[in-house]
Symmetry: C2
Subunit: 408 residues, 2 copies
């Protein structure tokens, strides 16, 4: 048996490490070397929730103890409501989550993977290479991110409600922000303009804060997706601070204006993405199959911080199916699809809903501001996106969710 | 919340008891009272495998300790091969299974259910009653067996390969048969004529043996589905003994000819059934949903002894979904369908294959006769029908299954 993995992000590495734990030969096709990833531009700002950290522990790659590097809650702040002051409330996790700069995280796991006998081949893989690679492997897992080869998997219109980005993004790592107490992620919402996720990250230079601005197109925050640090750092900082002061008071009060600055010129990523769900698998001309995982399967907006967790969960599902099953035929692919469906589509449906929330979800957020048990349940469900979507899918379900967590 | 269960067989009772464990109001519509079931004709001959016994333990209704009442293996005997002598081989379970006469089992669980606050209403429920009952319950679970109201759920042609019975059946409880050593089920196969399952049962009169003849239409065993005990007990016994002597030597050698007899005139059931898979759920005119479970969802031939186990598994899945979820809408029904699919359809696909085995399955049985580890794996998979079907679905999968259990 030999498994080929195209891509070296979190899903590719978690699957590769899982397979090596079970002595299964794996070849990983990585676009960049560990050194290139470590020295590159900020690729994202990614939270790993408890279930993902548990998989890291099982693989022996939890190098950043969540008790030391992690955080324990979500601090919410909503401005722009009819209320006279911003709504501020907190939801606690049962176990900590953590955020490690992927330029620290991924290269370390690439080393782990190679030390355990995993093979890495560096270089781009194009769609036209897939048939040839399929001859070398019993199964190809496409974990190549949201661009390029992943596009071979057809879009599922039934699960892809958007045809363009719902947010314009600016993610950067900053100095000069004091952590909240208890240490948590700040979930800032400015109604009509967008969100700011304030993320306690462990970066290449140590502890810092990532700010991920999720600007609604046409809103007051959109400029942050356009203003270029490289053109004029002073103007860039001024623009960020102006928007933070106007929209995000729970962050502004913890900024040291004299120290506030982007960590470095490669610590900023601006752009936008269109959420999409693709088919789980493809039959190749060779008769073998290719499975999609991570962003090649399902791209979600980062507003809920779920993408990496969904990718890791999905990778694990594939790994367990490889161990248990007796072949890599269509039945195998259907099994993987069924086993990850509730989780991966829960992430996608929930995130798509949050981008343009229906009234019952707006009401839920209001109820959470008045009911800590409810907010804790919503927060803990960041580990259970299938359950989160169970609770959000219809007004009746959300009413039942609120009722369940409102009993004395 | 209030759940209505139509039917009082194993799936209805396991679900009802599960829900009462969690203080959920339940009304069960039973065609017969506990006394009527206890005094009636043999309804079936049903093995409960370890996973089903584990659910009984969790519910506190495991009244027949498997260590005392159960059995531990399958004794196989195949006649009619090119080999000079019958093939005889054994597969062991990791944990015991057991067979309790349902005229003992079901009435006792009906009492348990009522003692725990479950309501039972005695009387037949017809299809036209369903809409009215739906007004009284948040969810209707149809556990009413393979006739009558279950037929409201459309047949799934994609999973129902047969349009008529593949075996004609005679199930009876007999005295005068010594148990095998170790105590096990005898799986007797006479190529071209059919199977005999020799089942160590605990009956209304204590320990006895059920013989379930699975006669291929047109074969030498078919007479056993027609000969009537009530017409002439002597002729009936003579017919059974003649066929056992000719086709089933592993049983014949343990029969005490002087004591051999049907236990009593109601201890015999003859007939035939057509395997069928039906849709998981229906939307009623009320807007509420009805879920099918057990034989209302999926009828399998008894040749693998899987029907009750599948029904109980499915009932448990529904119970857990009721606890976890936030509504009884189509999403709820789809969740149940997804969560039981691999198991319930594994039972169905495996059993349908065994009735008319493809060459690779015949080869597997041959390999099992030479390889006890392989036969043990096949036997233990009576607890994991999803895995059994994983191993049988294609020739390539069966080859991989054999290879996995053939390594030194």
């Amino acid at each position: 048996m030999n498994i080929g993995i195209i891509g070296s992000g979190v899903s590719g590495l978690h699957l590769g490490l899982f397979l090596r734990e079970h002595d299964i030969p794996v070849t990983m096709y990585a676009e960049k070397s560990a050194e290139q990833v470590a020295g590159g531009r900020l690729p994202n700002t990614v939270a790993h929730h408890h279930h993902t950290l548990e998989r890291e522990r099982a693989l022996g790659v939890h190098h950043w103890d969540a008790g030391e590097y992690g955080y324990v809650c979500h601090h919410h702040c909503v401005v722009g409501t009819p209320a006279p002051a911003p709504l501020r409330f907190r939801g606690d996790f049962e176990e900590p989550s953590s955020i490690i700069d992927y330029r620290v995280y991924l290269p370390r796991l690439m080393v782990d993977y190679e030390e355990r006998g995993g093979e890495i081949r560096i270089g781009a893989v194009a769609a036209e290479d897939l048939e040839r690679l399929s001859g070398e492997h019993d199964l190809i897992v496409v974990a190549a991110g949201r661009d390029g080869i992943g596009a071979m998997f057809p879009r599922r219109a039934d699960r892809s409600p958007y045809d363009k980005p719902q947010r314009r993004l600016s993610a950067g790592i900053y100095h000069g922000i004091a952590y909240s107490e208890p240490k948590g992620v700040g979930v800032h919402l400015s109604l009509g303009h967008g969100e700011l996720l304030e993320l306690p990250i462990f970066s290449r230079e140590g502890f810092a804060t990532a700010l991920l601005f999720e600007a609604i197109p046409g809103g007051d925050l959109e400029v942050l997706a356009d203003v270029r640090y490289d053109d004029d750092p002073h103007r860039f900082h001024a623009a960020v601070l102006e928007k933070v002061e106007r929209h995000f008071p729970m962050l502004h009060e913890r900024i040291d204006l004299g120290a506030f600055a982007l960590q470095g010129p490669t610590d900023i990523l601006q752009g936008a993405l269109t959420p999409i769900v693709r088919e789980d698998y493809l039959r190749l001309a060779s008769g073998r199959y290719a499975l999609a995982v991570g962003d090649a399967h399902c791209v979600v907006d980062p507003v809920n911080g779920q993408g990496a967790n969904s990718a890791s969960y999905s990778a694990w599902t594939i790994g367990e199916a490889i161990l248990a099953d007796y072949g890599f035929d269509e039945r195998f692919c259907q099994r993987v699809a069924r086993e990850r469906e509730a989780f991966v589509l829960g992430v996608s449906d929930w995130t798509n809903m949050i981008l343009n929330p229906q009234p019952h979800v707006v009401e839920l957020i209001g109820a959470m501001s008045q009911n800590k048990a409810l907010c804790d349940a919503y927060t803990e469900n960041f580990n259970h996106p299938d359950r989160q979507w169970d609770a959000l899918a219809t007004p009746e379900r959300t009413a039942a969710f609120i009722a369940r967590h409102s009993a004395s």
